[in-house]
């Protein structure tokens, strides 16, 4: 299965990139077959951070298993929790109060912003520019502080529970989010000045890592990767959940099919997230933040599926219930796994630099892929 280090076939150079490598954003292991600098084949080897989350969920109650899912795609923990909570609510046929719905959407969009900020910094760092990382973190810190105030955590918030959110918003929340939006609008042009408009950056991104709309569908790519090839895939638009159907926002589509298109999708998505937050921040309805639920949740016998749009794409949660207090089987359809499967297609024939750049535009979070 694993090629021996140094083994060559037909004079090719086989490099084990990772599991410890600066550009694989964690413990992804790529077996790269090179001909000089040209990539002939890339084979991802997974499993280095497999924690059998799906199996663990089977022995946890419907309240408990949501917390584990924060550790899958840790950059969009809210949205993972949200998708799971929605699936449980579907099973319980639980109505979520209006206030909780708005809070959930606000948190989702803040998470998406934070995640895209981090991606933007890491993407630039993959291309050898360090500074954007710090500029991105400057804004991301503010979001994390807002999260910390309301949820008590900065990364794995565990804020969404079946029936609503765990506790009410912090009194400062609205003001701080508004302050953040002000700050963000002042700083957003720096992103374009520092990275997007840079000629080296554009040369590195345009015309490389091309994937056609047909291939996007056959690989099952979702999220910005699909939308970068013009494939409409935004769950928020196509299968609206919570109050997304009442909000004004655009599904960002680019038809460049290359790394730069995927980059622009995320950049423009950040602006759409800001738009959504602006619509909601002054219109948080009063009322309950959590529906009344029984102390012990029991889903009726059957199969339940829900999906949400994370920062990386479509996250599906599939619960098979036997009627007990714990799920019989849980399956997560994580966006990173399908997006990663397109990597070889994206970079074949390119240079090593293209591999890193294309991998950056896939926005991989390895714990999300391995689970």
């Amino acid at each position: 299965m694993f090629e021996e280090v140094g083994t060559t076939t037909e004079g090719d150079l086989v490099i084990n990139m990772g599991p410890q490598h600066p550009a694989t954003h964690g413990v992804l292991h790529l077996v790269v077959t090179l001909n000089g600098e040209t990539i002939k084949n890339v084979e991802p080897h997974l499993g280095y951070i497999h924690r059998s989350i799906e199996k663990m969920c089977e022995s946890l109650t419907y309240r408990q298993f949501i917390y584990v899912t924060s550790r899958m795609d840790y950059l969009s923990a809210h949205i993972n929790n949200h998708a799971c909570a929605m699936c449980v609510e579907k099973g319980l046929q639980l109505e979520v109060p209006a206030r909780a719905q708005v809070i959930r959407v606000l948190m989702d969009e803040l998470t998406r912003l934070a995640s895209h900020e981090l991606w933007w910094g890491a993407m630039a760092m993959d291309l050898g520019a360090f500074t954007p990382f710090f500029h991105a973190f400057r804004e991301r810190e503010v979001i994390n502080d807002i999260m910390e105030e309301t949820c008590g955590a900065r990364l794995t918030m565990n804020y969404m529970v079946p029936g609503g959110v765990m506790h009410d918003l912090h009194p400062n929340f609205q003001q701080r989010v508004k302050d953040f939006l002000q700050l963000y609008k002042r700083k957003i042009h720096e992103y374009d000045e520092l990275v997007t408009g840079n000629i080296i950056f554009q040369n590195r991104m345009k015309g490389v890592g091309i994937i056609s709309p047909e291939d996007v569908l056959s690989y099952g790519c979702t999220g910005p990767v699909a939308r970068g090839s013009g494939v409409s895939s935004d769950v928020r638009k196509l299968y609206p959940y919570e109050i997304y159907d009442k909000l004004e926002f655009d599904e960002v589509l680019e038809d460049g099919c290359d790394s730069f298109a995927r980059y622009m999708v995320r950049i423009r998505e950040m602006q759409q997230s800001v738009r959504i937050i602006e619509q909601l921040i002054d219109n948080i309805p009063d009322g309950e933040f959590q529906a009344k639920t029984k102390a012990v949740l029991k889903l009726p016998k059957g199969e339940f599926y829900s999906k949400a749009e994370t920062a990386r794409g479509e996250l599906g949660v599939y619960i098979v219930s036997e009627g007990g207090t714990t799920p019989y089987r849980i399956k997560f359809r994580s966006p990173g796994f399908s997006n990663l499967s397109a990597l070889n297609h994206l970079v074949k024939g390119g240079k090593i630099g293209d591999l890193i750049a294309a991998m950056g535009t896939l926005d991989l979070v390895i714990p999300d892929i391995d689970r």
Partner: protein, 358 residues
């Protein structure tokens, strides 16, 4: 007046008064050698802390601020740490080449310090082919990188070394042609002649647009030659972990590291010498009062001021630009910089022949 050349002259006088001329010469050479080693170490330390402070400033951070006042002794502490660390040699490595490579890098950097004029009449070796010597010796540095990459028995190192080989050999051409522009204008390869020719104004201002083009090409080419971002493909930490020095640790790594910084200093010093008049103060034609004021500033301050300004520019590149890809890097050189600098050299030659420069 207190100046570096006076100190050198005083030492020379004192030695000659106290011992035979042969011994005086030997002692002077020893002092010069120690001075170069000291300068190598001091420059490395200063530039490392400068880079960290500049990058911190660009990246809205504070940078090192614990060791010494405002963290100024941080690089000294780091060097001490690297000195006491074990210098590992990986299994399967070519031991001789692996251990010699960092010293080659260091020796090349030291050799290049010889013809640089740090102040008025203060130069170790004013040889008549100074510019040619610099171009020739600086080419050796690629050998140390190739040695390190090949001997490490590591694929990342090998890829880094191969990239570096292609890159340095290509960009030397542009750097050489840019330097030739000044040689054509001056009519001499000797460093002191080139500086003297800029007494009434630096070449950057005297030589019209072609010299400005040559200067820009020179800065781009030397950034590539010293393996600095955005041309740091030999290291490319996000692609090749650390490139050619992936397997190096301890002081052997530190030597590569210091050599890189000293090389940056050297190319900036050469750029300052050729285009910005070296230690020559800023003079404007026959504005005698203004020129007098400028002369009052010591020549060493002029030299180091200009050099460190160029170093700052190169650091600024590093912390703002993304990295090029290898094929784009070579395209830039062979399709753009080299033709432009060749044509530019023709223009400069025309200017020199017609005497159009100021």
């Amino acid at each position: 007046m207190w100046s570096l050349s006076n100190i050198a002259a005083n030492i020379d006088q004192w030695l000659n008064a106290n011992m035979s001329p042969t011994w005086a010469l030997i002692v002077e050479m020893l002092i010069a050698g120690v001075a170069v080693i000291g300068l190598f170490a001091a420059l490395g330390l200063v530039l490392v802390i400068m880079e960290r402070k500049v990058s911190a400033w660009i990246q809205i951070r504070l940078g090192p601020n614990r060791v010494g006042p405002k963290g100024m002794l941080q690089s000294l502490a780091d060097t001490l740490k690297l000195l006491v660390k074990e210098g590992m040699t990986p299994g399967g490595a070519d031991k001789l080449l692996f251990n010699v490579a960092p010293f080659v890098a260091m020796i090349v950097a030291m050799l290049l310090l010889a013809p640089i004029a740090f102040a008025k009449d203060f130069q170790l070796w004013d040889l008549n082919i100074g510019v040619l010597y610099i171009s020739a010796v600086s080419s050796i540095s690629v050998i140390s990188i190739l040695m390190a990459g090949w001997a490490s028995n590591n694929k990342y190192s090998l890829l880094g070394a191969m990239r570096s080989g292609a890159q340095i050999v290509s960009y030397e051409l542009s750097a050489g042609l840019a330097v030739l522009a000044i040689v054509v204008l001056t009519g001499s390869l000797r460093i002191s002649d080139i500086i003297q020719a800029q007494e009434n104004g630096w070449w950057l201002f005297k030589g019209h647009i072609p010299v400005i083009i040559a200067f820009i090409i020179f800065i781009i080419a030397v950034t590539a030659e010293t393996n600095r971002a955005p041309f740091d493909l030999a290291e490319a930490e996000s692609e090749l972990t650390a490139g050619f020095h992936t397997e190096y640790s301890g002081m052997k790594f530190a030597l590569f590291f210091l050599a890189e910084y000293v090389n940056v200093f050297i190319v900036c010093a050469i750029g300052a010498t050729l285009f910005l008049g070296g230690w020559m103060p800023f003079h404007i034609g026959n504005w005698h009062a203004f020129n007098g004021v400028m002369d009052w500033i010591p020549s060493s301050v002029w030299f180091f001021g200009k050099t460190f300004f160029l170093i700052f520019v190169i650091m600024w590149f590093r912390w703002t630009f993304p990295r090029l890809r290898i094929d784009q890097l070579l395209n830039l050189e062979w399709k753009y910089l080299l033709p432009i600098s060749m044509f530019n050299l023709l223009l400069v030659t025309l200017i020199a022949i017609m005497g159009w420069h100021f």
